[in-house]
Subunit: 227 residues, 2 copies
Amino acid sequence: MTRVLVVDDEPQIVRALVINLKARTYEVDAAHDGATALQLAAARHPDVVVLDLGLPDMDGVDVIRGLRGWTRVPILVLSARHSSDEKVEALDAGADDYVTKPFGMDELLARLRAAVRRAEPAGTGEGDVIVETGEFTVDLAAKKVQRAGRDVRLTPTEWHLLEVLVRNSGRLVGQKQLLQEVWGPSYGTETNYLRVYMAQLRRKLEADPSHPKHFVTEPGMGYRFEK
Amino acid sequence: MTRVLVVDDEPQIVRALVINLKARTYEVDAAHDGATALQLAAARHPDVVVLDLGLPDMDGVDVIRGLRGWTRVPILVLSARHSSDEKVEALDAGADDYVTKPFGMDELLARLRAAVRRAEPAGTGEGDVIVETGEFTVDLAAKKVQRAGRDVRLTPTEWHLLEVLVRNSGRLVGQKQLLQEVWGPSYGTETNYLRVYMAQLRRKLEADPSHPKHFVTEPGMGYRFEK
DNA sequence: CGGGCGCGTCAGGGTTCCGTCAAAGACGGC
DNA sequence: GCCGTCTTTGACGGAACCCTGACGCGCCCG
């Protein structure tokens, strides 16, 4: 199920979007100002954001920057402004598309589909969404982990953490980046979360959890997943 | 260098685009019909395609489908048609964006930048910048150092120091600059830090630490990293 | 020829960082 | 409204890391 975050301060627009999106089986969250939008984005991790630039509390472009600080989620900008400069500024700040009001619902939905489609992982054909180690296998598409032939049960947070690490296989991921990608942009310093959840992952997946081979700690820097 | 394929049958539009793109150091190919476009795309593997839908030999949407059969290259559609149905059809066929003529060049270029930006890998396993010497390799993105096939563990400070030196490969880096980049702006004179950590780096990476080949001391001035 | 300066090396101590455990709090399902 | 699961906290021992001071060496210059 695709999750959409709608951000607009005009209730009738939000209403129209929510109705149309829900009718097409999207899951929808709505925010009417920038602060709520950033908070909801962090909490719910939408697959795409529809963002009106004219918000009551902050500049829409700053909302884009706030999101881009920690996520690459597609951002589709709505705006009453037709000026070329506004469009360029929003797009260069990290927006993916820019639609001027009034807009046609069909067109908006088509642009939304396009944004979601290209954000999907490229590995549809033969791309290996499955990562194997000597002891366990991770299927990123199916969100499944197997060990010794048996499915391993992971909580949502555990899975999310595993996913970020596996997607950066072999590469060091800084603790700040991990925290922000899993818990949201305001959690850049709560390193104790990492300690607890890394321990959970190792207990569930490593052969010898106290001497991890695949989830390696780099003291003072971050963690690294190694096949 | 980013390569753009421009497809349009109106010579003046192609000309305007080519001039503007080349001025911004894009590499540009141009086609005036669909068949040539598909052929050029296959031969040159552009990073983004700008496609006019009104072509003389075939339907623009079929060009999109032809491309999407084998590539996910971003496609930015240009069209004189404002109808919503046309847009929806093109977008659902696999286009990434749809701009109606007449268009502003600034806006088009901004949309092009957005399309290229989101197509570039978030960080795929390969494609990292790797610096090699005869004895060890440094992967700056993965924060990984290998020597004789084995991973070498570096502490945060050691890594930071190595990073500054490697980023200035071949150039002399003054001790003051090194100190300030690694330890912070208020540390301009504690040269003993440098001595200690340079020794650590050499012990971990040089074949003969007391006769360094890659981390060269320039007495009284600073240090230099040599491949 | 001797002193001074800059650099390399080593080892100890204070501090930060990490793994582990347990328990309270929040959330959702029945 | 209760119960089980998941998340968030807090505390503690141990490990890793950073700073520091001392010493030896080679080079330049007096």
